[in-house]
């Protein structure tokens, strides 16, 4: 089993806001991240695929193919967007929202990527890691 990782970057804005809480509680829990005008980051997305090395090509999966999957499934929807306002998985109702925290971005990226990677012969998605800054990241390994 070999693990292959591809990095990509995207830039997006967001804010943290739980619509079922008061403004005071949102500001208390989320601090500056609750500023309703939003703020942005240069994110790095790390996608790790696990599989056996193909004896003919020497690849786990073709990196160009993986790059295109990341571009099509994630970057096309998230790059240079406002995550709360432009991305359907983070759309809020009057009382509920999936807040675009780094943890939830890792889970959402996994859900976008997994069906395509699953179709690749023998390979499986092993880990998705999202860096919000070089010092802050979250990862999802497909665990329930």
């Amino acid at each position: 089993m070999i693990y292959l990782t591809r990095r990509a970057t995207f830039s997006a804005s967001h804010y943290y806001w739980n619509p079922s809480w008061s403004a005071e509680k949102n500001e208390q829990v989320f601090g500056r991240c609750a500023n309703r005008n939003g703020h942005g980051h240069n994110y790095t997305l790390e996608v790790t695929v696990a599989g056996d090395v193909d004896p003919v090509t020497g690849f786990v999966v073709d990196l160009k193919w993986l790059r295109d999957v990341i571009e099509r499934e994630v970057l096309a929807a998230w790059d240079h967007r406002h995550l709360n306002l432009d991305v359907p998985e983070f759309a809020a109702t009057e009382s509920t929202a999936t807040i675009p925290t780094t943890e939830n971005l890792a889970i959402a990226a996994w859900k976008r990527l997994e069906p395509s990677v699953h179709k690749a012969d023998g390979a499986r998605l092993s880990r998705v890691r999202v860096y919000e800054t070089p010092e802050i990241f979250a990862e999802f390994r497909g665990e329930a």
Binding site: V29, T101, E103, N104, A106, I107, E135, A138
Partner: protein
Amino acid sequence: MRAYFGRRTTISASHRLHSGTLSAEENCATYGKCNNPHGHGHNYVVEVLVGGEVDAETGMVINLVALDEVVRARVVERFDHANLSLDPLFVNRVPTTENLCRVIFGLLKDALPDGELARVRVEETENNFFECEGE
């Protein structure tokens, strides 16, 4: 759903690799220039990985501010701009980065307000690092 939150922090500290159970010659042979008598220092990067359920209300495994406070109080205050070799935790342990990694894991594992400590990684330089996932 279970996810992991990671946070990187830099500490600057000095140390000298020297084992009380080895002779002067053996220490020199084992540790080389890391055994020089007055020590030397590094900018260490401490990467803390916390695993846990993503809270449905906050979208978080652990609040970054709360994690930073624990790491500051238990690790940064103790080791930043300090001589590791003089810390009581290293009286009977050589302050290699392997041991620093284990010590930091021990200092943090019961102190987190949410989630559980999944891994501590300590980078001594850009070219070497150590990881501990528990005892």
